[in-house]
Symmetry: C2
Subunit: 180 residues, 2 copies
C-alpha cells in the first residue's frame, strides 16, 4: 500500500505491518539523511473517510523512541516530501504507536504510518520544520533568521549620546531593521 | 527501471521508452508543481560504468520544447529530489533528446532520463535552482537575502553629522550589518 524513499537511496515498498492500521519502514543511518518521501503505491486506496498520518521515530540519547508527526497522505494527496534533517533536537509529539515496542538501534530510525479517520488527522499539527515547499514554514524560517539578526545587531546599538565622535561612520536607525 | 513522483500526486512507474537509452514521463499540469522525485525501482541496475541524466522538458511560449538538466541518478545514488518551480523562466541546456519529437501540450511537461556513460555525466552541469537540500544553494540564497537587506538598510544610513538630535533613538553601526 505504501512506499518510502530516502533521497539518494533505493525506494522501499515493503513496510512492516505492526498492527492492522499501522505500517513501519526502517530508516538506517538516519543521521545522514535530509529528505524522506512517503507515497501510496496506487494499488490500494485508503478506505472511504480515512487517511494516513506519517511519523518519524528516532531514538533519543537514552535510547527511548521519540515520535514526531511529519504530515499526512490521503487518497487526494497520495505523496509528500518531508525534511528530516533538523528534527533531531525537537520534542516528541503525541502518537498512536505507543504500545508498540519497536527495536531502537542507535543509528536506525523509523517512518510510521497510522491509518486514521480524516477528521482525526485534521486535528493533528505536524512539526513545522518537516514541511517541504510550504511557503508558511519557509516564511517562518526567514523570520526567525531576521529575528536573530535584529537581536545580534541591536546588541551593538548606541544612542547619539553614547557615540564616540566620528562623523564619517555610517549608522542605521534601529527601527529600519525592525521594519524590514 | 525508473519511477517518477510529483510531490502530492500518485507515483508513476511506467515511463515511455522513446529510445533504447531514453525514458520519458509525462507531467500533466506542470505549472502547479514544486518538487519531482526520480528514482530507480531497484529491479534493474544501470550497466557497469553508466548512469542517468535527468532532464525537465516544458513547452515555451511558442510551444517549443525547452530542456533543462536537473541532475543525475546512478547505482550509487539511485534517487533524487528536484525543485521544478522556478525553472520555467530559465534557459534551455544542451540535451540528448534532440531528435525526438515529443508532443508539446501547453500544460504537459516531461521528465526525461538518458542513460549515458558516467564520464559523460561528470561533464554536465545541472541548473543550480533544481538542487534540493544542497547546502551551497541554500547558503547562496540566504546570502542574497542579506545583501538585499544591507542595500535596503544602508539606504537609511546617516552619519553623526547628519543626525537630528534625538538622544533616545537607537542606531546600529552599519559595519555591524556588513560583518553579520
Amino acid at each position: 500500500m505504501f512506499g518510502c524513499l530516502v533521497a539518494g537511496r533505493l525506494v522501499q515498498a515493503a513496510p512492516q505491518q505492526v498492527a492492522e492500521d499501522k505500517f513501519v519502514f526502517d530508516i538506517p543511518d538516519y543521521e545522514n539523511i535530509n529528505h524522506v518521501v512517503v507515497f501510496m503505491l496506487g494499488t490500494i486506496p485508503f478506505p472511504e473517510g480515512m487517511g494516513g498520518s506519517v511519523y518519524f521515530c528516532y531514538p533519543d540519547q537514552s535510547g527511548m523512541a521519540v515520535w514526531q508527526l511529519l504530515g499526512f497522505v490521503t487518497n487526494e494527496k497520495p505523496s509528500a516530501i518531508f525534511k528530516i534533517s533538523g528534527l533531531k533536537s525537537g520534542k516528541g509529539s503525541q502518537h498512536p504507536f505507543g504500545a508498540m515496542n519497536l527495536p531502537q538501534t542507535p543509528t536506525v530510525a523509523q517512518i510510521g504510518i497510522s491509518v486514521e479517520l480524516l477528521e482525526n488527522l485534521a486535528q493533528q499539527t505536524p512539526v513545522a520544520s518537516a514541511a517541504v515547499s510550504s511557503v508558511d514554514s519557509f516564511t517562518e524560517f526567514t523570520q526567525k533568521m531576521l529575528d536573530n539578526f535584529y537581536n545580534f545587531a541591536s546588541s551593538f546599538a548606541v544612542t547619539q549620546a553614547q557615540m564616540t565622535p566620528n562623523p564619517s561612520e555610517a549608522f542605521i536607525p534601529a527601527n529600519v531593521v525592525l521594519k524590514w
